[in-house]
């Protein structure tokens, strides 16, 4: 009887659906069992919900999936919440935590305090990492590099960043960023996803989910990592979609023959066959989808289709052969070497030109616990010219007008030396209480410095900007109210900024 009933329900057309899993599912909903369970259980359930059991049972009554979908649709429909200033974002992530002392945060008074112990009144008992917590002293290490003022804005920039100094009037330098995390993994995850624990969508995924694509032939969110990174590791969750549908995940572009892995047809395999195969695959997926209704199947189909379109669009956009020499001169000699930061900056410009909405570059190697003067000099040399070139290139082509450029790492570094301090060598440990980032372009004031730190470069004295504030501001520039872009997962609504974040209105133009 009950088997017959099942056949009626799904019809002969879906005979293939008689998988063991489904049979089990059907059994669960078997009418007789249902009635038995519910009538016997009814009293108990009613009493249970009387005695404070509401939380336990209340939600079950309301088909949660349907509600969520409705709400999600409404949330997306309301976007953008107001007219955006920025249409695209390029985020130059300096992984490892660049020192603010040797780059933008000029602390001339430290010179006189060379080697003195950091006063407790400044540190105020703040926790240190295990790497320097047991040091017998915390000797103050002034920057060995000199600073000068540049541009009409008279902004102090270190001698390590001569090219960046040249575009300083286009930058909005924020010296008062702070974070809650003191180690790389949680700090970078916090910056990129709004939470220190893995599992949340990255900024680019939120943006991609909220605003959609402006170029259907390329991913909305693309990440690239400079090659030869042998420092703190990076993980795909930094551009992952977390609990958002997987089609909003950032697509990693690599240097070399296969910018996107497994995108090209295997050797000797004809493109027409591929297309035919994909057409059949799609039919299979559609059948599966109508049977199970798993939204991930839709995502899978969308991704196959995107991959197919990318077979032609990616080689085109990733080819730098057509660029004039003048462009390579601008980005520096590295830009001819695929996979370098400079080459990635050039590619980023090309992607932005194609209206890719969110391009994220990662450059590792900023984690100088020891030998900082040499290490950071090298790091700056690798990024300085190309970074400035990107700003210049975006500006002269007009893209800077609606593109937001962001430069920065996951935290700053300590004023005191980790390990031995000598006149020309020292290290710096992680420092979450203040660090410097800059933004440039769409909707952001140019040629300004925002926020101040104390003479030790240890605490913020003016206009602190929390990581969530930064994220809120980023979304704001794209026309998104960070409090209204939410997604319901596992029974609660999440947002990039959790329950925090204030737009930094002072830096908006």
């Amino acid at each position: 009887m009950s088997h017959h009933h099942h056949d009626d329900e799904f019809g002969p057309r879906h005979a293939w659906l008689h998988t063991p899993e489904l049979a089990k599912l059907n059994e669960k909903l078997d009418r007789r069992r249902f009635l038995t369970k519910t009538t016997l259980g009814l009293g108990a359930l009613a009493v249970g919900s009387l005695w404070g059991g509401r939380q336990l049972f209340g939600g079950v009554a309301k088909a949660p999936n349907e509600l969520t979908e409705d709400t999600q649709e409404a949330i997306l429909k309301a976007l953008p919440h107001f007219a955006p200033k920025a249409k695209r974002v390029v985020y130059l992530f300096m992984s490892g935590g660049p020192s603010q002392f040797e780059t933008f945060d000029y602390k001339p008074k430290l010179a006189a305090m060379f080697g003195q112990s950091l006063p407790d009144s400044v540190r105020k008992g703040q926790r240190l990492t295990g790497m320097s917590a047991n040091q017998s002293s915390l000797p103050i290490a002034p920057s060995v590099y000199n600073f000068s003022q540049y541009g009409k804005s008279n902004t102090w920039v270190s001698e390590l960043l001569p090219y960046t100094a040249g575009v300083v009037d286009d930058l909005c330098i924020i010296k008062s960023l702070y974070t809650e995390q003191i180690n790389h993994d949680p700090a970078i995850t916090f910056f990129q996803t709004g939470n220190q624990l893995p599992g949340r969508p990255s900024i680019g995924s939120w943006v991609s989910y909220g605003l959609g694509s402006d170029n259907e032939n390329l991913p909305t969110f693309i990440s690239m990592i400079s090659k030869n990174g042998n420092d703190q590791p990076l993980y795909s969750r930094l551009w992952g979609s977390g609990f958002l549908p997987t089609r909003y995940e950032g697509v990693q572009f690599r240097s070399g023959k296969d910018p996107v892995l497994f995108l090209n047809n295997p050797d000797g395999y004809d493109g027409t066959d591929r297309q035919e195969m994909l057409t059949y695959l799609k039919q299979l997926n559609e059948m599966q989808q109508s049977g199970f209704g798993d939204p991930e199947i839709d995502n899978r189909m969308a991704q196959y289709e995107m991959a197919y379109r990318m077979q032609t669009s990616v080689p085109d956009v990733m080819s730098i052969a057509g660029e004039p020499d003048e462009v390579f001169d601008l980005y520096g000699p590295d830009s001819r070497d695929p996979g370098t930061y400079a080459a990635n900056c050039l590619l980023a410009r090309k992607l932005l030109q194609k209206d890719v909405k969110f391009v994220q570059l990662y450059h590792q190697g900023w984690d100088q616990h020891g030998g900082l003067p040499g290490g950071i000099k090298n790091q700056c040399k690798n990024i300085d010219q190309a970074t400035a070139a990107l700003v210049t290139d975006l500006k002269r082509t007009g893209l800077l007008d609606d593109t937001l450029v962001i430069w920065g790492g996951e935290f700053g570094r300590t004023v005191y030396s980790q390990g031995k301090l000598t006149k020309d060598n020292y290290g710096r440990d992680h420092h979450p209480r203040c660090f410097t980032m800059w933004m440039a372009g769409a909707g952001v004031k140019s040629g300004i410095t925002y926020g101040e730190t104390d003479d030790f470069g240890y605490n913020i004295t003016q206009n602190p900007v929390h990581v969530h504030d930064f994220q809120a501001t980023l979304l704001h520039l794209l026309g998104i109210d960070h409090e209204r872009l939410t997604f319901k997962s596992q029974g609660r609504r999440f947002r990039l900024t959790d329950v925090h974040g204030k737009v930094v209105n002072d830096i908006l133009s």
Binding site: S49, L50, V60, F82, G398
Partner: protein
């Protein structure tokens, strides 16, 4: 599975069942009192039945009411009033009924007049409990004396009719603060119903001090860091928008926090008039805009129509335009014709119905000439225009001089010259001209725009 929510189901019967004791008890009182008249003497015999039914149904109503109270979000204070008065009523009814049962009467004989008098208490208690129940359901201001005396202010239809306090500040405070600072729920002993209430203030002194922001506790509270424990409104209730705070500030500082004053009568009110118009939805305006863009210092251009025909957007998209909605109200569009190999000639005609909605336009690198781009001059609300890398000349620049909202113009890699720049000199809102890869030089820019201009020419 609805089966799980038995308490909710039965709880919701409470408002129905609760009318049974009301009817029965009124009937019992009526029968008892009427029996003093000889005509109705005989009905006394029915009193125990009516009273018994009333008492029994009151008990049932109490039970259902309790179920309902566990399932709804009711204000605890109001709920308690209703709960305990309801329980008391049921108790009194049961007691009265017990007193007239033969078994009890054998021990205690209640005098007839006392019994009749007790019905006054029953009806009084019933009215109170019923009113409290009404307050729970409809809100405590649903049936009150102030409803009798209250007069509804007519909504002003022009800025000239607007009173600063009555039409702007008070509705705003009621909206944001009313829930907790009104009759019935005076948090912090602060009542915010009237102008006088604000001047009187609450536990922490006056809420408003004319002309003095620092002494105005209300202003201090709403401008604190939202994470601060004294920030208002508290408990995650919707905070005042930036515009609302700005208006509040202006009212305290510049309008002497006065009531009964017309907006236009206050000196310097021009500064806030657009904001007020937006807030009150005046002059065909931007109600939704100011609400939506609450955080935006620059309200959108009022010339952009609020809504547009979305079918036209779909039509333009099907022709190959990429159209991004930048804002819903007013409807602002960002339109791009992406460069494709072997593409057909761009036909701008399909954009004509959307002309006033096009705010950003990108027609770069499409080999378009001056005459092919003529339609652009109709897009009167354009703010950003990208026509770079097209074979256009100074004639194009002259043709767009009337685009008075244009802020950024990208003409790099075109045939324009310094003579063409002159045509852009009087465009008031123009801030950026991208003219890289043209014959224009820095000295041309200097000659045309001088130093005083807002225009930055990027070469």
């Amino acid at each position: 599975m609805i089966l799980l929510d038995i308490p909710t189901f039965f709880g919701r019967l409470h408002p129905l069942v609760v009318h049974l004791p009301i009817g029965f008890l009124v009937l019992a009182a009526l029968l008892d009192w009427a029996s003093y008249w000889p005509t109705y003497k005989s009905v006394r015999a029915a009193v125990p039945l009516a009273l018994g039914a009333g008492a029994a149904s009151a008990v049932v109503a109490c039970g259902l009411g309790w179920l309902l109270s566990t399932t709804g979000d009711y204000a605890p204070a109001l709920l308690d009033n209703h709960k305990y008065s309801g329980l008391a009523l049921a108790g009194v009814a049961v007691l009265l009924y017990a007193l007239i049962t033969p078994a009890v009467r054998a021990y205690v004989a209640l005098p007839k007049k006392v019994f009749s008098g007790a019905f006054v208490a029953v009806l009084g208690l019933m009215s109170y409990a019923g009113h409290q129940g009404g307050n729970l359901t409809h809100g405590s201001d649903y049936l009150s004396l102030s409803v009798l005396t209250e007069t509804q202010r007519p909504k002003p239809t022009s800025l000239e009719q607007v009173f600063v306090f009555e039409d702007v500040v008070q509705p705003m405070l009621t909206r944001r603060c009313g829930q907790c600072h009104q009759d019935g729920k005076l948090k912090g002993k602060l009542r915010m119903n009237t102008h006088a209430d604000l001047l009187k203030g609450g536990k922490h002194g006056p809420a408003i001090v004319a002309g003095n922001l620092t002494k105005s506790e209300l202003y201090r509270r709403v401008t604190l860091d939202p994470a601060h424990k004294e920030f208002m409104p508290t408990d995650g209730k919707t905070a005042l928008t930036r515009n609302e705070v700005a208006l509040l500030k202006w009212w305290i500082e510049k309008a002497a926090a006065a009531d009964n004053t017309k907006l236009t009568a206050v000196k310097g009110s021009e500064a806030v008039q657009p904001m007020v118009a937006g807030l009150l939805g005046l002059s065909g305006s931007t109600d939704a805009v100011v609400q939506e863009a609450g955080n935006d210092a620059h309200p959108p251009n009022p010339a952009i129509p609020m809504t547009g025909d979305t079918a036209r957007i779909t039509a333009a998209r099907s022709q190959g335009f990429v159209i991004r909605i930048m804002n819903h109200k007013p409807l602002m569009l960002d339109v791009t014709w992406p460069k494709k190999t072997g593409q057909p000639v761009v036909d701008l005609a399909v954009l004509t119905p959307l002309a006033k909605h096009i705010i950003w336009l990108n027609l770069s690198d499409l080999n378009l000439t001056d005459s092919q781009l003529k339609a652009v001059t109709q897009y009167s609300n354009l703010e950003k225009l990208r026509v770079e890398k097209n074979p256009i000349s100074n004639e194009f620049l002259r043709s767009i001089a009337g685009l008075s909202y244009l802020q950024a113009l990208n003409v790099y890699g075109t045939h324009i010259t310094s003579a063409g720049l002159t045509a852009l000199k009087d465009m008031k809102r123009l801030e950026k001209i991208y003219a890289w890869q043209t014959t224009i030089t820095a000295s041309d820019v200097q000659r045309v725009f001088k130093d005083s201009s807002n225009v930055e020419v990027i070469l």
